[in-house]
C-alpha cells in the first residue's frame, strides 16, 4: 500500500528536484491519505490498524517535508548523503552573523519606530528576498552536486534556518501590531 522504502519524491510520484509542483503534491497527498486513512481499517484487527496509522504518519511527514522549501532542501541534502547537523553546529560566517545581529536589532526597534507597520513590512520583504536568494543559491549548488557544492549548499541551508526563524518572528509581530 505505502512503500516505506521509497523516498518522499517517489512516494508522491514527483521528480527529484528543488522545485515541487505544489498542486500535484497536494492531490497525490490527498489520494494517499484516503488510501491509508485509519478509519478505513476500523473493522480490521489491531495489527492492521497500527500499520495504517504508521502509513498515515509517514505520508504526513513526507508531505510536510516536501511542502516547504527549507525542509525540502534539508531532505534533498539528506538524500545526497549529507545530514545537516543543526544541533551541534554553531560556528558561522562572521559577516553573516553581523548582518543577523543588525537585522535583530532592527526588529527589536520596530515597536518604537514612528511607523511600526511600515517598518515591519519593509523588514519582512527584505527577509523574504533574502530567503528567495538563498533558495536560488541552494538550487545552483544542489544541481552541480560536487562534494564542494554540497558543502556550500549545506551552509546556505544553515543561513536559511536563521532567515525563516526571523520571517516567522516578523509575521508574529505584524499580527500583534494589527491587534494593538
Amino acid at each position: 500500500m505505502v512503500d516505506l522504502t521509497k523516498n518522499y519524491f517517489e512516494l508522491f510520484e514527483l521528480p527529484l528536484s528543488c522545485q515541487v509542483d505544489l498542486q500535484r503534491l497536494s492531490s497525490q497527498y490527498r489520494a494517499l491519505q484516503r488510501a491509508v486513512h485509519p478509519d478505513r481499517f476500523a473493522g480490521d484487527d489491531e495489527r492492521q490498524q497500527r500499520i495504517s496509522i504508521q502509513y498515515a504518519s509517514h505520508v504526513n511527514e513526507a508531505f510536510n517535508t516536501l511542502k516547504q522549501p527549507l525542509p525540502r532542501a534539508i531532505y534533498l541534502l539528506k538524500l545526497a548523503g549529507r545530514d545537516v547537523d543543526i544541533e551541534r553546529n554553531t560556528i558561522m560566517d562572521p559577516g553573516f552573523l553581523m548582518e543577523q545581529m543588525e537585522l535583530r536589532e532592527a526588529v527589536a526597534d520596530i515597536r518604537s519606530a514612528s511607523n511600526p507597520e511600515q517598518e515591519v513590512e519593509r523588514l519582512a520583504s527584505q527577509v523574504d528576498a533574502d530567503i528567495l536568494r538563498y533558495l536560488q543559491q541552494f538550487e545552483g549548488f544542489w544541481v552541480s552536486a560536487t562534494e564542494q557544492d554540497l558543502e556550500q549548499a549545506e551552509t546556505v541551508v544553515r543561513k536559511m534556518l536563521f532567515m525563516v526563524k526571523l520571517a516567522a518572528e516578523l509575521e508574529q509581530l505584524e499580527s500583534e501590531l494589527l491587534d494593538d
Binding site: 545537516v84 543543526i86 544541533e87 551541534r88 553546529n89 554553531t90 560556528i91 558561522m92 562572521p94 553573516f96 552573523l97 553581523m98 543577523q100 545581529m101 535583530r104 527589536a108 541551508v157 544553515r158 534556518l161 536563521f162 525563516v164 526563524k165 526571523l166
Partner: protein, 134 residues
C-alpha cells in the same frame, strides 16, 4: 516548559549586556549563531596587559536559556585569565542553570562564543606582534 529559577533570574536581570569597542586591540569579540533555533550571540571581552579579563559584555537574540547562558558566561569570565576562561565548559553552564536537554544547545552556543572571543583577542595580539614597531 518551565525555566529554572536561575534562568529566570538571568533572563529578567541579565548581567553585562552591552557592547565594547570592537576595534580596540584589548577587546576580543566572539559571534556565534545556532541554526537549530536561529539564536545569535555576541560576546566580548576586555583583556588587560596581564592577560586577565577585566570586563565582559554580551548581546543575545534568542530564547531565555540562550540569554541566561551568555549572561552567566560573562559573569564567570570576569577576573579570569584567558586560559582559565577557556576551560569553561557548556556542561558547567547547563548544570548551573539546570537547562533541560532540549536547551543544551544554548549552553553550547555560549561556550563557542567564549572560545571565539578568546581566539579573536589572541589573533589580534599576534597580528600586533607581527607588525613593525612604530
Amino acid at each position: 516548559m518551565a525555566y529554572s529559577e536561575k534562568v529566570i533570574d538571568h533572563y529578567e536581570n541579565p548581567r553585562n549586556v552591552g557592547k565594547l569597542d570592537q576595534d580596540s586591540q584589548s577587546v576580543g569579540t566572539g559571534m556565534v549563531g545556532a541554526p537549530a533555533c536561529g539564536d545569535v550571540m555576541r560576546l566580548q571581552i576586555q583583556v588587560n596587559d596581564e592577560g586577565v579579563i577585566e570586563d565582559a559584555r554580551f548581546k543575545t537574540y534568542g530564547c531565555g536559556s540562550a540569554i541566561a547562558s551568555s549572561s552567566l558566561a560573562t559573569e564567570w569570565m570576569k577576573g579570569k585569565t584567558l586560559d582559565e576562561a577557556a576551560t569553561i565548559k557548556n556542561t558547567d553552564i547547563a548544570e548551573e542553570l539546570a537547562l533541560p536537554p532540549v536547551k543544551i544547545h544554548c549552553s553550547v552556543l555560549a561556550e563557542d562564543a567564549i572560545k571565539a572571543a578568546i581566539d579573536d583577542y589572541r589573533a589580534k595580539q599576534k597580528h600586533d606582534d607581527a607588525a613593525p614597531a612604530a
